[in-house]
Symmetry: C2
Subunit: 239 residues, 2 copies
DNA sequence: GTTAACTGTTAACGGTGTTCACTCTACGGC
DNA sequence: GCCGTAGAGTGAACACCGTTAACAGTTAAC
């Protein structure tokens, strides 16, 4: 499993990195549509077929880029909430949410590639095992882990299983292991947190809020406070 | 402003309709990517350049299709809530929300074209005057109108302007005319309703909820009840 | 030192949106 | 009722795209 690094596959790894760097450069410059196979090759002074020595297809290149971006986002958010080792968990969640928004606004093209319009894909298997999806799971785990920690430190009031209904409860229970055994009602509230956070950021980054809110920062802040309340976090936290 | 309908422009209008019909057929069959200029021409037994007699570009064709779909969605939702002339306003809003979700799930490809990943477009003017955007405004007006009616019939408790902060209040006030003079706090809650509804439907249709909720119907119902509560609607309504 | 694998090239295929020059038909004005 | 003209449609072509095949040069391995 180690690396012989025969000098050749060191260059190969370097080339792969250069390709992905060029792809990203094009991505931030002109959006997802701009990162084409030929454009990437042009950026490196190569001919298009040369890239097929490194990626089996254009889609595979994009998928690798997606995986990298997920990992970058994940570690960025980790670094953010690990900056000070003794921040309370509520603030950590606040930092996670705000960090996600900041990253999305600072990297709209990358965010668009990661979270923009996934194919409905009615037939496809749920378990796409591309590296991109595995990176997405790690990213999702970051949130689930933190919410579970918040819960286990100070359980928050949550709706009863009767209020939610058996259909919903069963599906929430299936996610229980990822939330360290939290009850269905608490998972429900956590899902709300994620759903609202995700929806807000998408709407802002994709320009659906601009029509009514030219500057959505204040709205986001207010919403963040509101959705945090449901998880027992009653302080909007400093700056 | 009337129509001389010289027999020739009647045929022209018919051809335009056929083109859009073919485009839509391709859309539902294979998603947005499948509705290409050449594919549409093929569908009609025409050569690609012929379409340029009717639409100045491929994008214009898609834009016209978008406008049509917005109008179709708008009238579908209007019909739904005007089916029975004396339904109370709360139920109308409930029908609107559920009708939007149903339409989105029944027409995922069309929904994807309408609401999927708008360009961030940091430079572009806000006031895109394409027919698609005007149709989108009519669609948005449907919601604003109904919410304003709900408010004026039975004002619901809303956060004070001090709670929201001056920055947010100013932006909400700018929307006041579209909400028949509602106060900022009430517009804030209405915006929440729309934001959460839109986010939920997008996440469900675009498959971002499938990972945790294989069947999001129960979750949507619970959320709809929750977001309706904030507007003083305390009944989940029959069926 | 020879052989094999790796990296890159050129040429080509089918696909896309789009433009140009050309025909043919049908309507409107005299 | 004829004629001129605008409209509808075509075929060829351009530039771009992702992708494949056949080929050449370099580098590592035995």
């Amino acid at each position: 499993m180690d690396s012989p690094t025969t000098g050749r596959d060191r260059r190969r790894a370097a080339t792969v990195a250069e390709i992905k760097a060029a792809a990203r450069r094009l991505l931030v410059g002109g959006g997802t549509a701009a990162v084409g196979l030929r454009a990437v090759a042009r950026e490196l002074g190569l001919t298009p077929p040369a890239l097929y020595r490194y990626f089996p297809s254009h889609e595979a290149l994009l998928s690798a880029l997606v995986a990298d971006l997920y990992d970058e986002l994940t570690t960025a958010l980790l670094d953010l909430q690990n900056a000070d080792p003794d921040i309370d968990l509520g603030t950590r969640l606040y930092l996670l949410a705000n960090g996600l928004r900041d990253w999305a606004l600072a990297h709209p093209a990358e965010f668009g590639l990661l979270f923009g319009t996934a194919v409905p894909d009615p037939e496809g298997d749920c378990h796409d095992q591309t590296p991109g999806h595995r990176a997405a799971m790690r990213f999702g785990g970051l949130f689930k882990e933190l919410v579970a920690a918040v819960w286990h430190q100070k359980p928050f009031p949550h709706p009863s299983e009767e209020q939610l209904g058996p259909v919903l409860v069963e599906q929430l229970r299936a996610e229980s292991e990822h939330f360290r055994g939290m009850p269905a009602g608490a998972i429900y509230l956590s899902l709300n947190y994620w759903t609202r956070l995700y929806g807000l950021i998408c709407m802002e980054v994709f320009g659906q809020l601009h029509w009514v809110l030219p500057d959505a920062a204040a709205y986001f802040e207010a919403q963040l406070f509101e959705i945090g309340e449901a998880l027992g976090l009653d302080c909007p936290m400093p700056e």
